[in-house]
Symmetry: C2
Subunit: 293 residues, 2 copies
């Protein structure tokens, strides 16, 4: 079997080819908004979510073209969320993946509109490219993952938790599970829906995906403390500066590492119980522990 | 037949009842984002778009509950666009319909997120409440109307046209047709799709809706020049201050009035050619000429 590195590289290239095809061409009027949409969505990244869609569909023998459409839509939703998170009124970041953030490059108004456009475009892409009978369930799962009980809810809590009377440990788990893990979990589930996987498989993927996403975000927190700014491609040590809740921040670095490992193990346990061979997804869960960007 | 006023009032109340039901409850965690979503979406307004959905569905004997779901989704998309348009980086408005704009009330970050959440929620609402076979076409029509070839494209041009070498008359028509008319037209078309109206009817409604939307926006431009701030409920005379392109601004007030009337007439001609009784929609086209808010 090819190495995990080749597998990830192959999927990243495949997915990026399709994101590029699906995005509106840069020249379409008005060009500047399409430039902004393409700039952020094609800015690289690991394409973890897209790869999870494609792989979850593949292991249940799903239609690859349908998986690539959903994978592209999810990367657009992810890009929209990053553009808006980086805005001055939110996390106020100048760099993302080693390049200027959208508002630094195009101005704040176009960054807001590029995020809006990507959000709308993602739903259109799904409804245009999937069989009609699959569209409602996929929109339901994804809408929940990026809505106020998912990504947006997590972002709201991340920015405002200190004004609420909440338990720090509980709210931190809420933030990470909604802001990051929900979409990672939905990526696996959508892949399996494309392939008509059964209810029981979807449940295990949902749960395993949440654990995988928690692992991913705790490693992200650790990278903010321990990573190399040139490798990660964004400003680090912002979490402490801004009094953000993080796992290393409230549990300490060593405990956070152990928690990431525990979440990886829980994810792997879920994936091992699937009715199909999920070895690549398991490898991804192991790999995330070691990532340096 | 009841008067147009009673008809509009009845539909406004009906639609608002359903928007209220469909929006997430205020207490759902995290409450502040649901408060912000509800604050802007339930802030009143004429509910013109929603009424057009419901009426276009009714004249072809469509399912009213399906129409109300799409009508609510369209009002959410409209509310999201207003929240983001009012932001400091965009039109920087403090008042909307006589009350504080979202960012003035909740802060800029929550205003951005409330708009984002409404955008996502609208697509979910459609896919959750319509028969699966109608979802893709409705999302296609609506997605186009609010995307970069519709509302967002219009907003981009509205903010940036002065940096482009374009013909002012042409770009003004582009801005109004995309920023306003596209969604008004799509409201009529979606109503008819719900009721399985034929291709030819959809074409006439698309075109008539664009004329109706152009009429609506030219009247809006005129209200900005001639209206009463207390009645309209927002700061007026901003268009001149900000060097915005408007019909009265480049054609003069009298010519703009004549153009609004001509668009109303063109809309009425399209609606008169429908295979069903469209008298209410025709009355709406006449009424818009006389509106004072």
């Amino acid at each position: 079997m090819e190495s995990l590195n080749s597998f990830l590289k192959y999927n990243k290239q495949l997915v990026e080819k399709w994101i590029d095809k699906y995005l509106p061409p840069e020249k379409s009027f008005p060009p500047v908004i399409h430039q902004a949409m393409r700039y952020s969505t094609l800015a690289g990244g690991k394409r973890l979510r897209a790869t999870l869609v494609v792989e979850a569909s593949r292991i249940y023998s799903g239609n690859q073209q349908h998986a690539l459409a959903v994978a592209s839509a999810i990367e657009m939703l992810h890009a929209y969320s990053l553009i808006h998170d980086d805005l001055p009124a939110m996390d106020d970041d100048d760099l993302r993946r080693g390049q200027l953030t959208s508002h630094k490059k195009f101005g704040e108004d176009l960054a807001i509109l590029a995020g809006d456009a990507l959000c709308t475009y993602a739903w259109q892409l799904i409804s245009d490219h999937l069989p009609a009978d699959k569209v409602p369930l996929i929109i339901k799962v994804l809408g929940r993952a990026v809505g106020t009980d998912g990504m947006i809810g997590g972002q709201v809590a991340d920015m405002h938790w200190h004004q609420w009377s909440v338990n720090e440990y509980k709210i931190l788990r809420y933030i990470h599970s909604r802001k990051t893990a929900a979409l990672i979990s939905a990526s696996l589930v959508c892949g399996a829906i494309i392939a008509d996987a059964g209810e029981n498989e979807l449940k295990k993927l949902t749960q395993g995906g949440i654990y995988l996403g928690m692992e991913f975000q705790i490693v992200d927190d650790l990278l903010d403390e321990l990573g190399d700014e040139n490798v990660v491609g964004k400003k680090l040590h912002k979490d402490q500066d801004e009094n953000k809740l993080t796992y290393p921040g409230i549990y300490g670095i060593e405990s956070a590492k152990i928690m990431a490992e525990k979440y990886a193990q829980k994810a792997i346990t879920c994936f091992s119980q699937l009715s199909v061979n999920s070895s690549r997804i398991i490898e991804i869960a192991q790999y995330i522990l070691t990532r340096n960007k």
